[in-house]
Amino acid sequence: MLKRARRRFFSFLAGVAALPLLAARAASGQPADPFADLVRKITGGAAVKPGRVTVDTPRLADNGHSVPLSVSVESPMTAADHVRSITLLSPRNPRPLMATFHLDPAAGRAQVATRVRLNGSQRVLAIAQLSDGSFWSGVAEVEVTESACLDAT
C-alpha cells in the first residue's frame, strides 16, 4: 500500500519535472520571437554582423534604475564612411527598445554615453547602422541586483 503510494508519488514528480521541458519545446516550435521581430524591424530584414560595436557598462549594477552605458563604434566618421545610427536594446525590459541615436560625420567620433534602466540581469544589445547600410552589433552582459520596473506586472 505504502509502496504503491510512493511509486505514484514518484511518477507524479517525474511528470512535474517534464513539464518545463514540454513548455520549452512548445516555445521553440513557435516561429515568433518578439525580440527577433524587433531586431528585424530595426534592420528592415538586413543581416546584423557581430563586431565593430563596443558596449561599455559596469559588469555588476547594484541598481537597475540607472546604469551608466557607453557605446562606441569603430568608424572613421567621414562623409563617405560614418555611423548613421545606434540603437540600444534590452531583451528583458518590458519595452526592449531603449533609445536610438542618430549621428552624422560632424560628430568626429562614434561614441555615445547615457544612463539606462534595466529590468534584471541581461545582455544589452547595441546595433549600429553604417552609412553603407550595413548593420553591426555589440553586447554587454550586465548583472543587476535590484531591478528597475518592480511595479511592472
Binding site: S70, N93, P96, M98, A106, G108, V112, C149, A152
Partner: protein, 107 residues
C-alpha cells in the same frame, strides 16, 4: 524644466569636443502606480535634437528604458564660435530648450 549643457570653455578649430546634456525629467515609465493604485501615465522625453549654429549634429529617440533625469554624452568637431542648442519634447507635448555658448580659437 531644468537642464544643463556642458561644453569645454574653449576649443581649437577642428578639435573634437565632448557635449554633455542633463535634463531634469522623471521619464515616467507608465508601469508605476500612485498610492491609491491609480496608474501613473507614461511620460518620457521621446525626442531630442541638438543643433550647432543651426545645423543638426545629434538626434535621439528615447523610450522608458532611459533613466530618469536623462544624461547624454557625445562628440562633435569644433568649427566656429557660436552656440549649441538642445531642444526636446516629452509625451505630454511639453517642450524645452537649453543653449550653451562655444568659443572656438583659430589654429
Amino acid at each position: 524644466m531644468v537642464a544643463r549643457v556642458q561644453l569645454p570653455a574653449t576649443a581649437k578649430a577642428g578639435e573634437l569636443i565632448e557635449v554633455r546634456i542633463t535634463i531634469q525629467h522623471p521619464m515616467e515609465t507608465g508601469f508605476r502606480f500612485e498610492l491609491g493604485g491609480k496608474p501613473i501615465p507614461k511620460n518620457v522625453i521621446n525626442s531630442l535634437l541638438v543643433r550647432y549654429n543651426g545645423a543638426q549634429i545629434f538626434r535621439a529617440e528615447m523610450g522608458s528604458g532611459i533613466a530618469a533625469n536623462p544624461y547624454l554624452q557625445f562628440h562633435t568637431v569644433a568649427k566656429q564660435s557660436g552656440e549649441i542648442e538642445v531642444a526636446w519634447i516629452d509625451d505630454n507635448g511639453e517642450r524645452g530648450v537649453e543653449k550653451a555658448a562655444l568659443a572656438v580659437t583659430s589654429g
